[in-house]
């Protein structure tokens, strides 16, 4: 089996290149969500470039749409479109814009404005129940995003309808654009809050492929309620000087920083492969 922990580091290098080239992007959240996307796309979700019309494919919604560079890297690496396409990222007339849009193969729904993904996911999960189909719906959210009221409307309706075919993953990196989530709008009782909406909640180490894999196996086996995986991640994970720094939410690295980041990611990838 492919070493997915190493894969996640190689994806980070693709992301870094994309952002450095285009001089725009949201590198901090991209790096915190890498393992989440890797484990979903390589181990858990029933999706492939050939089956995007299959009514039984799993559904994925990237609710934290600003981490689109991470999603693009994953989709390109999984063959949804040629990697060279990403040279146009954020360029004039590109379809590879700074937030997901469903003109790009592999992307189901447009996002960018926060708080939309979970209620859309509720609709997808309801459709599966209505049609007796076995696909699952996965929604990845940020933690800053949780201040949007629409997220809680969706927590409520998913709990009400006992949508055990819906899995929400929160990239809990404890930072948002202005700083610490706990200072901006705290979520310290997040697990209890989500549980109170009749969800199954699992906490996991969010930058560990194996920990996320275990959490997803549990989530898939759980019946009678939707599952929320609180993936405790590190924003900027993989590059020491970016980690846990709110400033790297959307900073573009200088040439020196770019070189240092490339070096560090290569070392981490080699370490993970060993």
């Amino acid at each position: 089996m492919e070493n997915l922990q190493a894969k996640a580091y190689s994806l980070r290098r693709d992301i870094l290149d994309m952002i450095y080239r285009a001089k725009t992007g949201h590198i901090g959240g991209d790096f915190s969500v890498c393992e989440i996307l890797t484990v979903l796309y390589w181990r858990h979700m029933n999706v492939s470039p050939q089956t995007m019309d299959d009514p039984d494919r799993d559904r994925f919604v990237m609710s934290k749409g600003h981490s689109v560079e991470a999603l693009y890297s994953v989709l390109a690496s999984r063959g949804f479109f040629p990697k060279e396409d990403l040279l146009t990222f954020s360029q004039f007339k590109t379809k590879y814009i700074g937030h997901p849009n469903n003109k790009v193969n592999g992307i189901e729904m447009n996002s960018g404005s926060l708080g939309h993904g979970l209620p859309v996911g509720v609709g997808m999960a309801l459709a599966a129940k209505m049609d007796g189909r076995s696909y699952r719906t996965y929604v990845v959210m940020g933690d800053g995003e949780l201040a949007e009221g629409s997220v809680w409307e969706a927590f409520m309706s998913a709990g009400h309808y006992k949508l055990d075919n819906l899995i929400a993953m929160i990239d809990r990196n404890r930072l948002q654009i202005s700083g610490s989530t706990e200072v901006v709008m705290h979520h310290e009782n997040l697990e209890q809050r989500v549980r109170a909406f009749d969800w199954n909640v699992i906490q996991a180490e969010g930058n560990s492929i194996e920990a996320l894999d275990r959490a997803l196996c549990q989530a898939k086996a759980f019946r009678g309620a939707p599952t929320c995986i609180i993936a405790n991640t590190t924003k900027g994970c993989g590059v020491s000087f970016m980690e846990n720094q709110a400033g790297w939410h959307h900073r573009v690295p200088t040439e020196a920083e770019y070189r240092a980041a490339v070096r560090e990611l290569a070392e981490k990838e080699a370490e993970a492969s060993a």
Binding site: M109, V122, S157
Partner: protein, 312 residues
């Protein structure tokens, strides 16, 4: 005899008829099944009905999620909330993502009379009409509502539809309803002046035209139920063939049918346009008819405005 069938009732009828043959048709409400006349649908087709509670944002996003999985989703909620509370969900999850969701705004305009500005939807044309890839329809009577709904249950593109709460007088005769999708209906012909109206105001325009006919002023009445895409050709024809245009709508004077018509007419600058609508302020309290009369949205005043315009 006065019509007692509200347009919202007709919407329910068409949804029921369609749901019988189409298991992919789903209806969603936000604690609004009663006001939308959809209780019967919910009872008859419980597996094709989703209640989301008082949560309009959730209502629209869930509809979009269902539609992305092959459902034909009809989300019904009071027009005031649907067009403002969930505007972003309409813009992003429905229109931008291009999901087959039909947003049904009920109790539109000032249907809720004395309930105040919170319950009026006098901005919905401006709001929903500005969203790319979202069609906007305000049908006039029960017969036209049926024909429009029969199209909407079949097509695959997003749309917003607004109807009022109470039964309105018929504009057309049963079995004789000229209707072409996205084309204004010429309700009556005339060469002197054109009245362009939508929704409940079409009947008012028709009655004003009858009053004017007694004075030998012959009005064309256009039922512009298709606010978007607006039937620009019909507007330009009116500008070329008649001496003035008067627009009539149950909407704010800003950004509604009048504004859209002016934009089209201005391209050729051929004829004067006078816009009749609700003011840019919280409307006075009262029953619809009282409020309409207060703002001059009734046949006598409309007729006198038209006559003055021609005498200028």
């Amino acid at each position: 005899m006065r019509n007692t069938v509200a347009n919202r009732q007709v919407i329910c009828d068409v949804l029921m008829e369609t749901a019988r043959q189409d298991p992919d048709l789903v209806v969603l409400c936000s604690d609004s099944r009663g006001s939308a006349s959809l209780s019967k649908f919910a009872d008859t087709y419980p597996r094709q009905f989703v209640e989301v509670g008082i949560a309009e944002q959730d209502l629209v996003s869930i509809s979009a999620g269902l539609a992305s999985c092959g459902k034909r989703a009809f989300a019904a909620s009071p027009a005031c909330f649907l067009s403002t509370r969930s505007m972003e969900q309409a813009r992003v999850d429905v229109a931008y993502s291009n999901t087959n969701v039909k947003l049904i705004g009920i109790s539109g305009g000032i249907s809720y009379g004395a309930l105040g500005l919170t319950h009026h939807s006098a901005q919905d044309i401006a709001v929903m009409g500005s969203i790319p890839n979202l069609r906007v329809y305000l049908p006039s009577d029960r017969f036209q509502t049926r024909l429009l709904m029969e199209q909407l249950v079949r097509d695959d593109a997003p749309a917003y539809l607004r109807v009022g709460r109470n039964p309105v007088e018929d504009v057309y005769e049963e079995g004789r309803v000229p209707f072409e999708m996205d084309r204004a209906t010429t309700v009556c012909e005339g060469e002197d002046l054109t009245l362009i109206a939508c929704g409940e105001m079409v009947r008012v325009a028709l009655d004003a035209a009858a009053l004017l006919r007694e004075k030998q002023i012959f009005c064309r009445v256009l039922d512009m139920y298709c606010i978007k895409p607006l039937d620009k050709e019909a507007v330009l024809r009116a500008a070329r063939e008649t001496r003035a245009i008067v627009t009539l709508e149950e909407h704010s004077i800003i950004g509604g049918l009048g504004s859209l018509v002016c934009q089209v007419v201005a391209e050729e600058n051929r004829c004067p346009v006078h816009c009749m609508a609700l003011p840019d302020s919280a409307p006075v309290a009262g029953k619809s008819q009282e409020v309409f009369a207060y703002y001059g949205l009734e046949p006598n005043h409309v007729a006198s405005v038209c006559a003055d315009l021609l005498n200028r």
